[in-house]
Amino acid sequence: MNEGNSLYQDAIKQFARAAHGHGQLAAATGEAKLDNPLCGDRVRMQVAVASGCVTAIAHETRGCLLCRAAASVIGLQAVGHDANGIKAVAHDLESILHEGGPVAPGWPELSMFGPARGYPSRHGCVLLPFRALLAAMAESEMKHVQG
């Protein structure tokens, strides 16, 4: 039943299982822990940022397949991007979820979340790691400004 409109495409399961970026960073410059209050899912995201760009990333994700797959995509792709780049990708992801919009050119894997469009209750699961990433980057930026 892994037809095109199934939520649980093999890609999602493979990304979730691969858990790219799973772990901890020794030298994180920013960190964020976010909860999904509906299910208690949690993402802990750590980043190292230099000159505004992510140089290393690690996360510990307790969640459903969608949440884990999204975190894994981040683990694979986030290095090299600055906050604006990540915001743009998160925005593209939201438009995939809300309007079935086109896939972000740089992160083609996100197309696997297309079928989630029909399930608004799951959007939070997909977006949680991105929110955590942006929060971690903001924390890093804040420390940088203050330091």
């Binding site: 509906l38 208690g40 608004p120 209750s121 799951r122």
Partner: protein, 404 residues
């Protein structure tokens, strides 16, 4: 002149089924519009599930319907954001929410300013707050016409005043409050403004941003929607800082025996299973209201109101309460007839198919200020027409004979 025809009457199932009924008690409860009732039934028979937690399609559909209801309420009020709409069980619950969530942030010596024209639901919660926290409660007096006497405002408001909580429109006299003057005075001293919109919403969509207030409360049953549901709108940056009032499922971020953390607004203020089908029904009523030509409706309502006042003025021993006919007033007209008790008047009118309410209308401080114990009230809504007003005037002539 088309003030005779009330084409909208047919759209209200109860009125359509009782053509002889002359319903003049919409200030207490407006009749439900068929779109609202249909929406409730459709929701309960096709989308009923608990919201905010389910991942199956039925629950998704309930979630979407509930979220859309919130969007509709935001549009009806021209709220800055959907997250500023809190669904409650009614205006009274909305007002109590502010009196606790915002009120409990006040300290002894802080001042809250209300008026003597308030409905008990925007009066007693502040007395209770006074008891709980030692705030000082001040009262804007009313003129002999029952309007807020804003001449007194400057000496009643100062830097200690943290909130001004007033009605948008009196449920007894129909007097509209000069909200702009209140807001200006409040802004000058840094006070917040809560507007009790219970009587306002029946007369058209609102613009909370243009009103310039900080909180706005209303009930579904007074604007052609179902009972058991209401709305509190609050400015986003204010809501973000407030603690919750009612607590329980749906409004938390996490719970442990040691401590609990709160969800963001509006969820923070919606503890437990909300009135889902009722919110959906209310949204249908608001959607319908937003399709109407309110200028035309106001013109009709004003004509009917003037016709009624003219007729009443011809009845000897009848005293009209409320502002001058020319003043800014909603089509609510209260009066007393010397020697006749409102309950007796309403009872006789009822025999003539006229539904009016007599009593203190949950506004005892206002009635005391006007020097009456109880009064009879006719409230006109968009489904009333000239024949209703004429029947009322006839009915009163009859009551005068019958009761004396």
């Amino acid at each position: 002149m088309n003030s005779k025809a009330a084409p909208l009457r047919d759209e209200f199932p109860l009125l359509a089924a009782a053509p002889e009924l002359r319903y003049l008690d919409s200030a207490a409860t407006a009749q439900i519009h068929r779109s609202a009732l249909d929406a409730v039934v459709r929701h309960e028979t096709t989308r009923r599930a608990n919201v905010l937690r389910g991942t199956y399609r039925l629950a998704e559909a309930a979630d979407i319907a509930y979220a859309q209801a919130r969007q509709t309420a935001a549009r009806f009020l021209n709220a800055g954001s959907t997250d500023e709409i809190i669904f409650t069980s009614g205006a009274t619950a909305s007002l109590n929410l502010v009196a606790h969530a915002f009120g409990n942030t006040l300290k002894a010596g802080d001042r809250v300013l209300i008026s003597l024209a308030e409905h008990h639901s925007n009066f007693v919660p502040w007395q209770m707050l006074r008891e709980r926290t030692g705030i000082e409660l001040n009262f804007i007096p009313v003129t002999s016409g029952g309007e807020l006497d804003l001449v007194a405002l400057p000496r009643l408001i100062d830097a200690r005043t943290r909130l001004v909580a007033v009605t948008q429109c009196s449920n007894v006299t129909g007097a509209w409050t000069d909200v702009a003057a209140i807001v200006a005075a409040a802004r000058e001293v840094g006070a917040r403004v809560l507007l009790d919109g219970a009587q306002g919403v029946q007369h058209g969509p609102q613009d909370v941003q243009a009103l310039g207030v900080d909180f706005y409360a209303f009930s579904g049953h007074k604007c052609f929607g179902p009972g058991g549901v209401g709305v509190l709108w609050g400015r986003g940056e204010l809501l973000a800082k407030l603690p919750p009032f009612l607590t329980g499922g749906g409004m938390i971020a996490s719970v442990t025996p040691q401590a609990t953390t709160w969800a963001l607004p509006p969820q923070r203020f919606e503890a437990g299973t909300p009135p889902i089908a009722q919110a959906v029904g209310l949204a249908a009523a608001l959607d319908w209201m937003m399709t109407l030509d309110w200028q035309q409706i106001h013109a009709r309502e004003s004509r009917l109101c003037e016709l009624l006042i003219e007729g009443l003025q011809r009845i000897p021993t009848l005293r009209l309460l409320g502002p001058a006919p020319s003043a800014a007033r909603a089509p609510i007209v209260s009066f007393e007839i010397s020697g006749l008790h409102p309950h007796d008047i309403c009872q006789v009118l009822d025999a003539h198919q006229l539904a009016l309410r007599g009593g203190h209308h949950c506004a005892q401080p206002l009635l005391a200020a006007l020097g009456v114990e109880a009064c009879t009230r006719a409230s006109i809504a968009l489904y009333n027409d000239e024949s209703d007003v004429l029947a009322l005037l006839d009915g009163l002539t009859f009551a005068l004979k019958e009761l004396r």
